[in-house]
Amino acid sequence: MKSTSYSKKVLDHFRNPRNAGTLTGKDIAKGTVGNPVCGDLMEFTLKVKNNRIQDIKFKTFGCGSAVATASMVTELAKGKTLDEALKITRQDVADELDGLPPIKMHCSNLAADALKATIKNYKEKHKEKHKKGKEDKGPSKKEIQGEKEFSGKGVYHKVKEPSSLKDKRILIQDKGKESMELAGALAGYSPRVIFLTEKKSENIPDNLKAKLKKSNVKILYESELIGILGLNEVEKVKIHDLDEDNTYELFVDAVVI
């Protein structure tokens, strides 16, 4: 079956999603599941009254079935008590949509999981309202595989003249404010600058993020550089995604550490 052979109901929810958007105000619980790297990310916001889901909204980055399942789960959950809503399964969502293509049953059927995460989030928030969030770790001092081998061959510890890296794909590691400024300066010469940080998005001030976005610097949050690979010079890097705990390769020409 082709990935795009969707039922009429899936297509209807894709074309006319129910409850799309974000709820704001106080006493709103938020939950996110998935990862844009895998191609699916879902975000739910809930408003609960007397232990019942009074309102729910979603946002999705993903394929047709990702949008449709998120839309369907909001319809199923609305009006239910939290415990009832926790019982909604992936299969329930798929059944209500008159089925999903087999290949999509796992990858793009995150909606029930995302709802569960949001409810758990809500319950925890109400149990320990003032518990402080986890602190970010400082930048790690671990040795990076290949750092010495490629020193001067694509690995730089200092960049005096940003134009010297013209047209290269550059990965720059977070070393504080100076490295952020350098990232912005490099973006003036290179079509591709990636700023890698172990911090979470919410721990970087919005004005700095906006500045980087404006100069087309791509930020990778909660990520750790673990290896540099190539033949005679840097060709790619290995990155550890701390949030998802997986590693992947990214093709670059230069690394600034």
Binding site: P36, T60, R169, L231
Partner: protein, 383 residues
């Protein structure tokens, strides 16, 4: 009527080609191997067709081997050459952005004891000569680099790569499917030893491919039988398809320049207006060294399958490099090799145009796209 902007995936057969094929179904239906006059007529048609197709790439007729398609041609080039010439070495060099039929064939050869090295590409998807040179060893057997990317349309420096291989005495194969019918191909000027072509990619019927094999290059046959095609590829020749491809090649030789000019002006309009009208949109592939029929984009914050479905609702047929539209659920290896992150590769859109594309088709997609992108971005938690 559907606006078809997916010529890279499949092309309609030119009506002139269909006409040229017609006599070979039940008038001239003999087997070229037969000795009677019906067989002679078939042989005559086969020889004429072979000459026309050879002319398209400035080859000699007996250097043209017919196969069942580009995938078989790529298999025959890599496996056939590697097995026949084992003694010369065991290293095979391909690029990170080759067609899947090259990648998987190379993987197969690795399992059979050969070594494969993949040349990286730059941000625009281009291979650099020094990256190939530094990979060449004394036991390098074969280099295989596609003429142009079937996905992002970036054209490779084929002549320079061919010259380098010729100087070093290494065989050079190029899969020219994405470029045929659009660029002028010349196996001699480009120092090519093996070249893959497909019939459908020049508006001929499907199920027919060609492998150009330079005189003196030896291959181990992969399909064994009655010894057709100089013993390299057995099986009774698919004469209707071959006559069709010959007609298609003729049309290309007469009309290519004019057609490429038209396509290029459509392409440039697509690129200009889409980048202008849609914020945070980017062009994938090389800004200049690209095929005249290809416009490839990436939009921040949205996913390609959703984009494809939304455009399909507006009766516009396109392609995407997103994982969600593929059988393997992996994003396009070409976009990843160019340095895109997975989430960026998911948000890509490929528009490929062709012989029957009209100005109004370009208008339709330029009009529809901003609205579709906007709707999906409003749904997106990461835009």
């Amino acid at each position: 009527m559907t606006v078809y902007l997916d010529y890279q995936s499949s092309k309609p057969v030119d009506p002139r080609v269909v006409n040229a094929m017609n006599p070979y179904f039940n008038e001239t239906f003999g087997n070229p191997s037969s000795l009677h006059s019906a067989g002679d007529k078939a042989t005559e048609a086969l020889d004429k067709s072979r000459s026309k197709i050879a002319g398209l790439i400035k080859a000699e007729p007996d250097e043209i081997i017919f196969t069942s398609g580009a995938t078989e041609s790529n298999n025959l080039a890599l496996i056939g050459y590697a097995l026949k010439n084992k003694g010369k070495g065991e290293y095979i060099i391909i690029s990170e952005t080759e067609h899947i039929s090259i990648h998987n064939t190379a993987k197969f050869l690795m399992k059979s004891g050969f070594e494969v090295s993949k040349v990286p590409v730059d941000h625009y998807g281009q291979v650099h000569l020094n990256k190939i040179r530094e990979r060449l060893t004394d036991d390098t057997l074969l280099v295989s680099i596609g003429y142009a990317s079937n996905e992002v349309g970036t054209v490779q420096p084929i002549k320079e790569i061919g010259r380098l291989c010729r100087e070093r005495g290494i065989a050079f194969h190029t899969d020219a499917v994405a470029a045929e019918g659009l660029l002028s191909l010349d196996v001699n000027k480009d120092f090519v030893d093996l070249m893959t072509l497909s019939s459908n990619d020049i508006y001929g019927p499907k199920g027919l491919g060609v492998l150009y094999v330079r005189k003196g290059i030896k291959l181990m046959p992969q399909i064994i039988g009655g010894g057709q095609e100089n013993g390299i590829r057995s099986g009774t020749e698919n004469l209707p398809a071959i006559a069709g491809m010959a007609r298609a090649a003729e049309i290309v030789m007469q009309e290519r320049e004019q057609e490429a000019k038209k396509l290029q002006s459509f392409r440039d309009r697509l690129i200009k207006e889409i980048l202008e009208n849609i914020p945070r949109s980017f062009l994938n592939g090389h800004p200049e060294k690209r095929l005249p029929n290809n416009a490839h984009f990436r939009f921040d914050g949205i996913e390609g399958e959703s984009l494809l479905l939304s455009l399909n609702d507006k009766e516009i047929a396109v392609s995407t490099g997103s994982a969600c539209s593929s059988k393997t659920l992996e994003p396009s290896h070409t976009l990843i090799a160019m340095g895109l992150l997975h989430e960026e590769a998911h948000g890509s859109l490929e528009l490929s145009i062709g012989r029957f594309t009209k100005e109004s088709d370009i208008d339709s997609v330029i009009k529809a796209l901003p609205e579709v992108v906007d709707r999906l971005r409003k749904l997106s938690p990461i835009y």
